[in-house]
Symmetry: C2
C-alpha cells in the first residue's frame, strides 16, 4: 500500500492537531502548503510486540501515544516521552519530529530511547532497522537519520522503543521563587538533593500565571511570585521520595530560594498542578495574536531574552512571557498582541534569532523547522552543516517527493 502512496506527501507529526492546546502546528511541518498528498498512518495502529523483562515495545507508526502509554502502563512500564498532544499524536510523528516533551529531563532524547525503525524510502524500498536490541554496533546507526528529519528522508512505518519501569510514586511540588537567580539555584539544589528521582523541572513567569488565571480561571496554589517552578519526582519507593523531597523543600525555604510552595501526591492534585504549566499555550491563544518561539539557551541566560524583549517591545506587545523546560535549557518565549502587526514582527525577527545565535543557542529546541522556520536554520547551523543536509536529502530523496517545502531552506 505504502509503495503506491508515495506521491508528494506530508508526514503526520505530533503538532498536526492538538486539541488540548489549540496549537495548529507551531512550525507548519505537517501542514500541506501547495500540491502535497497527505499520507495517513492512522490505520497502522497495532502493537507488534512488548517484552516484559526488557520493556521494549515494537509498534506500528500510527499508534497514538496515549494509547501506547495505557498499554505499557498496564504492564508496569511507561513511555519514555509524554506531551500535551498525547491524545492525538502518533508515535511515528513523535519520532519523525524528535519530540521532546515532559519526560525529556529524566529519560532523554528519542535518539537514545528509540532502538529501531522501519522506514519506507522515497523509491519504495522498505528499510528494516526494526531491531529490539539495546546495543547494536553493526555499522552505521541508520535509524538516527530519520529521527527528527520531519519525514523529509523517509516514511517511518514502525518503531521499536525502550520503555522505563513505571515509577511507584510520583510527587509534584509547585513553588514560588523571588527571582530568576533563585530559580537557577533551586534547580542546582534539587539536582543534588533529589538526584535520580527528579523527573521534571519546569518554570513559568508571573505573566504566565496571570494569563492562565484570566483566561482559564485557574487559581495559583501559592502566593504571588515573580517566578514559579514545578518539580516532579518519580521513584520506586514512596517513603524515600517523600523524605528526599521534604529535606529539599526545607533547604530551599530556609535559604530563601523559595518563598512559598505546595506539594501533591494524589493523582488529582498532581494533574491540577501540571495544568497550570501545560495550559499556558491555551491561555496565550485566547489572549490574541501569538508570536511563538521555542529556543534552547545556556540555562543561566534563559530569561534574559524575555526581559530584553519586554524592554524592546514596550507597549507594542500585550504580553511577553517566558516558560518552559528549564531543566533542558528550553525556553518557550511568547509574545501576544491584539492583532497581527508587521511592525511587531519586524521588532521580533530577526532580533530573537540573532540574540539566540549570539548565545550559541538553538532557534528550534523541540518543534523542528517545518515550513515556517526552515529559512532561519542558518542561525543555528553553519554552512557546512546546511550543505551536508542538502546532500543527504539529495541522496535519499532525489526527486524531492517526501514532505516537500519543509525543513530544508530553498536552494540558492
Amino acid at each position: 500500500m505504502l509503495q503506491n502512496c508515495l506521491g508528494r506527501y506530508c508526514h503526520e507529526r505530533n503538532l498536526a492537531v492538538n486539541p488540548q492546546g489549540g496549537n495548529t502546528g507551531m512550525v507548519g511541518g505537517s501542514v500541506p502548503v501547495f500540491d502535497e498528498i497527505i499520507l495517513s498512518t492512522a490505520l497502522m495502529n497495532q502493537v507488534i510486540s512488548f517484552h516484559g523483562v526488557s520493556g521494549i515495545l515494537v509498534c506500528q507508526a500510527g499508534c497514538i501515544l496515549e494509547e501506547l502509554s495505557r498499554y505499557v502502563e498496564e504492564r508496569d512500564f511507561i513511555m519514555p516521552l509524554d506531551l500535551g498532544a498525547k491524545g492525538s499524536c502518533h508515535i511515528g510523528g513523535n519520532v519523525a519530529t524528535n519530540a521532546g516533551g515532559l519526560r525529556f529531563l529524566r529519560y532523554g532524547s528519542l535518539h537514545g530511547t528509540v532502538l529501531g525503525l522501519e522506514v519506507v524510502l522515497a523509491d519504495g524500498t522498505v528499510l528494516n532497522c526494526l531491531t529490539s536490541l539495546r546495543k547494536d554496533n553493526t555499522g552505521y546507526d541508520l535509524k538516527q537519520l530519520f529521527i527528527g528529519s520531519e519525514g523529509t528522508l523517509g516514511v517511518i512505518t514502525a518503531v521499536s522503543i525502550l520503555c522505563p519501569p513505571k515509577p511507584r510514586a510520583v510527587n509534584v511540588a509547585f513553588l514560588g521563587c523571588p527571582g530568576f537567580a533563585e530559580v537557577l539555584q533551586t534547580f542546582s539544589t534539587c539536582k543534588g538533593m533529589l538526584g535520580e528521582i527528579l523527573s521534571a523541572f519546569e518554570f513559568m513567569d508571573a505573566e504566565c500565571m496571570q494569563l492562565v488565571g484570566h483566561h482559564l480561571g485557574l487559581i495559583s496554589p501559592v502566593q504571588e511570585s515573580p517566578f514559579y517552578v514545578l518539580i516532579e519526582t518519580s521513584g520506586s519507593r514512596a517513603g524515600h521520595d517523600a523524605e528526599k523531597l521534604s529535606s529539599f523543600l526545607e533547604h530551599v525555604l530556609d535559604f530563601g530560594l523559595v518563598t512559598d510552595g505546595t506539594l501533591a501526591t494524589d493523582q488529582r492534585r498532581v494533574k491540577m498542578l501540571w495544568a497550570l504549566r501545560e495550559r499556558i499555550t491555551e491561555a496565550l491563544s485566547r489572549d490574541g495574536c501569538v508570536y511563538k518561539y521555542d529556543i534552547s539557551l545556556p540555562v543561566e541566560r534563559l530569561y534574559d531574552l524575555v526581559s530584553d524583549l519586554r524592554a524592546r517591545l514596550g507597549p507594542q506587545a500585550k504580553h511577553v512571557v517566558g516558560y518552559g523546560h528549564l531543566g533542558d535549557g528550553n525556553l518557550h518565549l511568547n509574545v501576544t498582541a491584539e492583532a497581527f502587526s508587521a511592525s511587531l514582527l519586524g521588532a521580533l525577527e530577526p532580533y530573537v534569532y540573532e540574540w539566540t545565535a549570539g548565545q550559541q543557542g538553538s532557534v528550534s529546541a523541540e518543534h523542528g523547522l517545518g515550513f515556517k522556520k526552515k529559512d532561519v536554520l542558518s542561525y543555528s547551523k553553519p554552512p557546512a552543516a546546511l550543505q551536508l543536509m542538502q546532500q543527504l536529502k539529495a541522496l535519499l530523496d532525489p526527486k524531492g517527493i517526501l514532505n516537500p517545502y519543509k525543513t530544508l531552506p530553498a536552494r540558492a
Copy 2:
C-alpha cells in the same frame, strides 16, 4: 594541521591499546592493515569548557577518558560512560566506536548523551556541530552519523557530552544464582525494587570464576554457584539506597533466586568485587588462544548460545564461557583452546553468527566491525541497510581515505 594530515589514516579508538585487559583490539578497527597513515589526536587533549549547572563538558577528541572522569568528578559530576580501557582510550575514539561499557544500563547510549561534535570531513571541511544544548531540532542531527561509524565518515576532533551528577553512594552486591532462569528473575526483581538507583547488572558463569581464580588468583567472595551476578547501585542518599538494597536481597534470598551473596560499600571492596568481572578478559588471554564474540540477544535466550556451543564443541574447546552486561542484553561469549585451530574456527563460524541472526540478535553489540567483522555485517543488517551504508560512505568519503578496509564489506 588536520587538513594536511588527511591521507589514508586509521582513527584512534577505544580498543587500540588496552593495558588493563591485554586486548589488542577485538575487531581490529584501529589496526593499520595495508597502506594506512595513522593520525594521532593525542596532543588534542584539552578541556574546552565545563558548565557546573548543566554538567555539559566540551573537550578535544584526544582527552583520555580517565582524565576526563577525574576532571568532572572534582566538580561533582561523572562521565556517562566507563570502561576497562579508560586509562588509555580517547573520548574521540569512544564516540567514533559508540563505546558501551559499564554505565550503559543507567545512562544509555552515546547517541543520547553526546550533545555535539566537531568533525573534519574527508575533503578537509570542518563540520562544527559542537553545540552544548540538550535540545536542538534545527534540521538533521548530523553528529549521529559519526557516532559509531569507526572513523570511516569523518575525523572527530571535539566532543560535547552531558555528564550526570556524581552519585553520593555506590553499593555493589555480588551474588550466586543456582541457574540462568534465576539470574533473569533476579534481574526483573531488581529492576522493580531498586528502580532508579540500579546502575549495573553484570553476570558471569562458573567457568569464568574458575578462570579468574586459576590464572589471576582471585578468590570468589561467595559459595560456588553455576552463575554469579554483580549489581551496582548509585544514588543520592546512602541510607535510602542501603534500605532498598537490603529489602531486595532479603526478597531474592527468601525466594531462592540467590543462594549466597556479599555486599560492598567501601571503595576498596567495591573495586575488588568489580575486578572479578572486569578481569575475565585478562584471565581468558592467559588460558590460550581465545575466540571472542560480542553479541546482543533477547535476554531470555542469552545463555542458550553458550550451552549450545559447549555441547557442539565438546573436547575441541578448553573453555566455553559466557559473561557480560546482562542488563543490556549483551553477551561476551569466549572460547579458549591450547592453540589456533582451523577446525575449531570452522565449528564456531558461521554457526555463532547464524545462531545470533536466528534470534534477530546483533553480531557486534559494542565492539563494532573494524577489519575482522566487516564481512559478517549481513547477519545483522538487511541488504537495503548495507546499500545505504555504502551510499553514505561514497557521499562523505568518495576517495575512501578515511579508515579504509574497515566497517564496510568489500564491494561486490
